[in-house]
């Protein structure tokens, strides 16, 4: 295992607000990978809603807070390809015209990783100690897949989970229709996309659908339940950390 590393967890607002279990799963996996994990209290949102709405000024204001909150750690890790991609690729773009902040943004970008790819690519993790005797399928979130190259890593770790059977999802790389504000600005188009996605997930016959981004997962879980499909939806970190039994699936009632 590589040298110990001091890692700051970028929780992301959706995990913080909707699904703390994912945060605890991330901490557990990072610790298993030999990291010391801290959760900077001053963190807020990464600023993506403003940035993707063309509101650079507000995006910058939020990004400045993030840059300050995450200074000094070896790595900044997020259980989301979308938020990690925002910090890693778009912060430098956002501050391209402010040399002083740009240097800090680039420094942060260089240290920022998506959780699962960090575990595999940086920490050399090739297996986990978890058990989940189910058939699962996996949806590739767009930002993680196309901005950060997250594709093989979650499948590799999933293959080591005891009892799990992975059925590949046809169209796994096609967007689920979440798209941040898109899903409420163009609800009918978003609905068409997530309806197709839910249908393909159900057709795999898998008991659980996993992904690495809570935005996609909330969208998919919401559509699966609206359509009456009995497929569980979970963040992949919950299964990898062996914590899938600690909380009901996304959108399922507590016992």
């Amino acid at each position: 295992m590589p040298e110990p590393a001091r890692v700051a967890l970028l929780v992301t607002c959706l995990v913080d607000l909707f699904r703390p279990t994912v945060g605890f799963a991330a901490v557990k996996l990072l610790e298993q990978a030999g990291c010391t994990v801290e959760v900077p209290r001053a963190q807020t949102c990464c600023g993506q809603p403003a940035y993707n709405s063309g509101d650079r000024a507000d995006a910058k204001a939020v990004a400045r807070q993030v840059i300050a909150a995450f200074a000094g750690y070896d790595y900044v890790v997020a259980p989301s390809g979308s938020c990690a991609g925002m910090v890693k690729l778009h912060y430098p773009e956002l501050f391209a015209d402010e040399p002083e902040t740009l240097a800090k943004a680039e420094d942060l970008a260089a240290r920022t990783r998506e959780l699962i790819s960090f575990l595999v690519d940086i920490r050399g993790m090739d297996r986990v100690t978890a058990s989940w005797p189910r058939t699962v399928t996996y949806h590739d979130g767009c930002s993680g897949l196309r901005e950060l190259g997250v594709k093989a890593q979650p499948r590799r770790l999933l293959a080591s989970v005891e009892g799990v059977r992975v059925t590949e999802l046809p169209g796994a790389e096609v967007c689920c229709g979440f798209g941040g504000t898109f899903c409420v600005k163009y609800p009918e188009i978003s609905d068409k996309m997530v309806t197709d996605k839910a249908g393909e997930i159900a057709a795999t016959g898998a008991e659980t659908v996993l992904a690495g981004d809570l935005g996609c997962l909330l969208n998919i879980a919401g559509k699966l339940s609206r359509l009456g499909h009995r497929v569980e939806t979970r963040h992949v970190a919950e299964v990898l950390a062996g914590m899938a039994d600690d909380a009901p699936a996304i959108g399922e009632p507590r016992e």
Binding site: V15, D16, P20, F24, D58, C142, F182, Y186, K192, G251
Partner: protein, 474 residues
């Protein structure tokens, strides 16, 4: 054509409810991406080629004035003429002037998106000249008085039964009881009907995929051969195209052609790749007596040197449309003008104004698939975001949305107290079922899907509590 891009949400809603369109799109959704994938798997250097293609176009755009002047000189040397058009009106006038100079009554047309951009057919008809589209898809939509819904497959929104009905209504001199239920039969009928038009036309108008500066040649790629008949049989050949199509050399063109066919249709090479250099030369067996090129700007030079310059690399291959989940959901007509899909979402605001076309760059999830398949690596999502920035800066975004964003930014900075409260309230309210079927402030979400309820406490407050407990137990 009059843009209806401002009505994108209404257009989209109508198209989502159009069952025939949805069936037609369903057939297209898988075909193009699969064929492209298979074609590039057979070409290991495809990624390197994309980089080369980008470099060729970037170099050309950086020296566009030089290559355009060189191209013009070479066209003249070959005996042709170049007509510079700043806008649609000048381009239409140039075409009409040439047609009138030879007293043209009918013109045949190969497929040209620039001709669509300047609404050439309507203009020619209004001036007493009959244009006849000879690309099968274009011919079908001309008969139906519809705009194209795709830049290389203009009638992709139609099922073959609709085409059969259209042909029966238009070809009234043919046997009304004939069987028209196979694409092959439809194609043969169009071929039979078009053949005399090719022979009778006074002028042939084509577009161009590339203009080669070193030779003064224009190049079209087609799969039907209609372009060749259009440009070699009539006395006059007019090429209507736009300034960013110029490429320095034939060698460069070869590189771009390798990218184009694979990205467009998944072919190694299109069935016909035809170079035209000037009119018929002494000793030539065929070819037109006159060769004209109408070169349209129509706002393109305004993109040079700015944040949208990369858009001028576009080869019009349609890979971005073919892989776009939004295009696949609503089809091309919803976009309300000539260029649909991701390339249209960037280009249309530049050509018809962001006030008219402001919805298009917003109607994207930024899934990034378009950029990943673009043969010349145009950063389409980034440029859509630039349009959103312009709209925000020019206050074109709806006021409700703007104030919502301001509120969000303010809340994001007061994040902790609010996240905790909202999470607890929603978690408490939703714990019975685990999800909400309707939620007053999130109707945009809950109208089409349930909202999973939060677990209850925020990660940060739970984490802090665990730390306190661990500290107390020590």
């Amino acid at each position: 054509m009059q843009p209806t891009s401002h009505a994108f949400p209404e257009n989209a809603r109508a198209e989502l409810g159009n069952e025939t369109l949805q069936r037609a799109l369903g057939l297209a959704r898988t075909g193009f991406p699969l064929r492209r994938q298979q074609a590039i798997e057979r070409l290991p250097e495809f990624e390197a080629l994309r980089e080369e293609g980008r470099a060729i176009k970037d170099h050309t755009l950086a020296h566009l004035d030089f290559y355009l002047e060189l191209y013009e000189r070479k066209v003249i040397e070959a005996g042709g003429q170049v007509h510079w058009a700043r806008n649609a009106e000048e381009a239409r006038a140039a075409v009409l002037g040439i047609c009138r100079s030879v007293a043209a009554k009918t013109v045949t047309k190969g497929k040209s998106m620039v001709a669509e951009e300047i609404a050439l057919n309507d203009y020619l008809e209004a001036n007493g000249i009959t244009p006849i589209e000879t690309d099968l898809g274009e011919y079908i939509i001309q008969l139906r008085h519809e705009p194209p819904s795709h830049i290389i497959a203009p009638a992709i929104h139609l099922m073959k039964e609709q085409v059969a009905d259209t042909f029966r209504a238009a070809h009234t001199d043919l046997d009304p009881t004939r069987v028209l239920d196979e694409p092959r039969t439809l194609c043969d009928e169009a071929r039979t009907v078009l053949r005399p038009h090719f022979l009778d036309a006074d002028v042939g108008i084509t577009g161009a995929n590339f203009l080669v500066a070193e030779t003064g040649s224009s190049i079209i790629v087609t799969n039907e051969g209609n372009g060749d008949l259009t440009q070699t049989l009539p006395r006059v050949h007019i090429v209507i195209t736009s300034i960013e199509k110029v490429v320095p050399t034939l060698e460069d063109t070869a590189t771009l052609l390798r990218l184009l066919a694979r990205s467009a249709t998944g072919q190694e090479f299109s069935s016909y790749t035809t170079l035209s250099t000037g009119p018929r030369q002494p000793g030539d067996l065929d070819g037109p007596e006159q060769y004209h090129v109408v070169l349209l700007d129509n706002g393109r030079t305004g993109l040079l040197g700015g944040e949208f310059q990369d858009m001028l690399r576009c080869l019009r291959c349609s890979a971005c449309l073919n892989h776009c989940p939004v295009y696949a959901a609503v089809g091309g007509h919803a976009y309300g003008w000539v260029y649909p899909g991701p390339m249209g979402a960037v280009l249309t605001p530049a050509l018809v104004g962001v006030g008219e076309a402001g919805h298009l760059p917003n109607a994207s999830t930024f899934c990034g698939k378009c950029e990943s398949v673009c043969p010349v690596k145009i950063p389409l999502p980034k440029m859509m975001r630039h349009w959103r920035e312009r709209e925000f800066a020019e206050r074109l975004a709806p006021p409700v949305y703007r104030s919502g964003l301001r509120l969000w930014a303010w809340l994001a900075q007061l994040y902790h107290a609010l996240a905790e409260t909202a999470g607890r309230v929603l978690g408490w309210a939703g714990q019975g079922r685990g999800r909400f079927r309707a939620l007053p402030l999130a109707a945009g979400w809950t109208r089409v899907r349930d909202l999973p309820a939060p677990e209850g406490r925020s990660f940060q407050s739970l984490g802090a509590e665990r730390q306190r407990r661990a500290g107390a137990g020590r």
